[in-house]
């Protein structure tokens, strides 16, 4: 059976940065990319808040370059998804795609987070027929059409702005009477004539014969002026946040109620010796690329220290 010193799971900024540090420390890391090569950033367009890119940078390009940097120092980057682990003894056991088994002295979990859905049965019903959690992937199908984006944070505002560039009209469905997004994103949305923000609206369901043709919303649910609102849309985009991809590790690694892996304060150590967590999977607060990269660096340095002892 193959045995590795440092196994990194995930290919976002946390995973690749951990790989750069572990490789430069001569630990010959093996990195499994997981289901989304390059991580969540590959589902956005431009990154404008990563230091060092005054004009912004294409997200896919940036992730490609970080990966190249990790490979340059000898990281073995592989395709595959971790489907099972056994952290009860050392070395740890890891299964890739339910078949390949390998052993690792240390594991860095950098599996990130995935888009959340509202939990409506209609989301499943219309999956692939008008429902999407990736505007940059699927916006193409809605050129000159009307769509809705659900959410009030940065991601929702960014997706709405992106879709406004392609679509005829974009409704932004916001549960609260305000946007949670950063000031700059709020302004971008509010000043875009193609975007109509529907504050205090909740989605009840979707309808349509051949895919999504509209959505039923409720305005100010439970208030005296509550009313049902019907919008005609062809596409329904979710941007209501993310849930951490920690399921496969939960039997061994302690998580909080929302599923974020609990790390030891300033260090990315988990309750399992030799298992570290970096990036969004262990970050309920900030969830930024730069923070993920920083924690990936810390995890690799901790793994190096662990291997020396």
């Amino acid at each position: 059976m193959e045995r590795v010193k440092v196994l990194i799971i995930g290919s976002g900024p946390a995973g690749y940065t951990a790989a750069i540090y572990a490789a430069r420390a001569g630990l010959n890391p093996v990195l499994y990319e997981g289901m989304l090569s390059g991580g969540q950033l590959t589902q956005t367009t431009m990154i404008e808040n990563f230091p060092g890119y005054p004009q912004g940078v294409d997200a896919t390009q940036m992730m490609g370059e970080i990966r190249e940097q990790a490979e340059r120092f000898g990281t073995d980057v592989r395709f595959g998804v971790v489907t099972k682990v056994d952290f009860s003894a050392s070395p740890k056991k890891i299964w890739i795609d339910e078949e390949t088994e390998l052993e690792a002295d240390t594991v860095i979990i950098a599996t990130g987070a995935s888009a959340k859905y509202l939990g409506l049965p209609d989301e499943q019903k219309y999956m692939g027929e008008g429902v999407s959690a990736c505007a940059t992937c699927d916006g193409f199908f809605y050129r000159k059409k009307d769509v809705a984006v659900v959410g009030g944070g940065d991601t929702a505002c960014e997706e709405a702005s992106y879709l406004a560039g392609l679509c005829n009209k974009v409704y932004l469905i916001v549960r609260k009477p305000f946007l949670r997004a950063s000031k700059v994103m709020q302004e971008r949305v509010m000043s875009n004539p193609k975007i109509e923000v529907l504050f205090e609206h909740n989605t009840l369901g979707l309808y349509g014969e051949k895919g999504v043709e509209g959505a039923k919303l409720v305005y100010r649910k439970g208030e005296a002026d509550e009313k049902i609102v019907d919008i005609k849309i062809d596409g329904f985009f979710l941007a209501i946040g993310h849930h951490p991809n920690s399921d496969v590790f939960r039997e061994y690694v302690k998580c909080n109620e929302e599923g974020y892996i609990i790390t030891d304060g300033a260090r990315p150590t988990t309750n399992v010796p030799g298992v570290f967590a970096a990036g969004d999977v262990a970050d309920p607060l900030y969830r930024q690329a730069i923070c993920a990269a920083a924690s990936g660096c810390k995890a690799a340095m901790e793994a190096e220290k662990f291997l020396k002892n």
């Binding site: 289901m35 989304l36 395709f79 795609d97 999407s132 990736c134 992937c137 051949k210």
Partner: protein
């Protein structure tokens, strides 16, 4: 890797019992993640199932015909008919695609 286009699609569908089409685009991150999995499965099922890729920008007719509204989407086709219950949307683990291929041939 076999490329299916608006030009060759009809011929591929009419001359093969089992066809799997992976609809994607150059600018789609999850499509890139799926590519090596599709290539691996194409080799594995060679001779039994024809597995091809469709670029949605280059082949709008085929994309429209199969009602594609997300990328990546994988359609599983038996004797020219898409099996909607097997359809896979988004990047998923290899095991899920393999299960759909096995059901297609069952």
């Amino acid at each position: 890797m076999l490329q299916i286009t608006d030009t060759n699609c009809k011929e591929v569908l009419s001359s093969n019992e089992y066809v799997v089409l992976d609809f994607g685009a150059a600018w789609c991150g999850p499509c890139r993640s799926l590519a090596p999995v599709i290539e691996k499965l194409a080799k594995e099922f060679e001779g039994k199932v024809v597995i091809g890729k469709v670029d949605i920008e280059e082949s709008p007719e085929t994309t429209d015909e199969f009602g594609i509204r997300n990328v990546p989407t994988i359609q599983f086709i038996h004797n020219g008919e898409a099996m909607p219950e097997l359809k896979v949307v988004g990047a998923v683990p290899e095991s899920k695609i393999r299960a759909s291929i096995e059901k297609l041939m069952a």
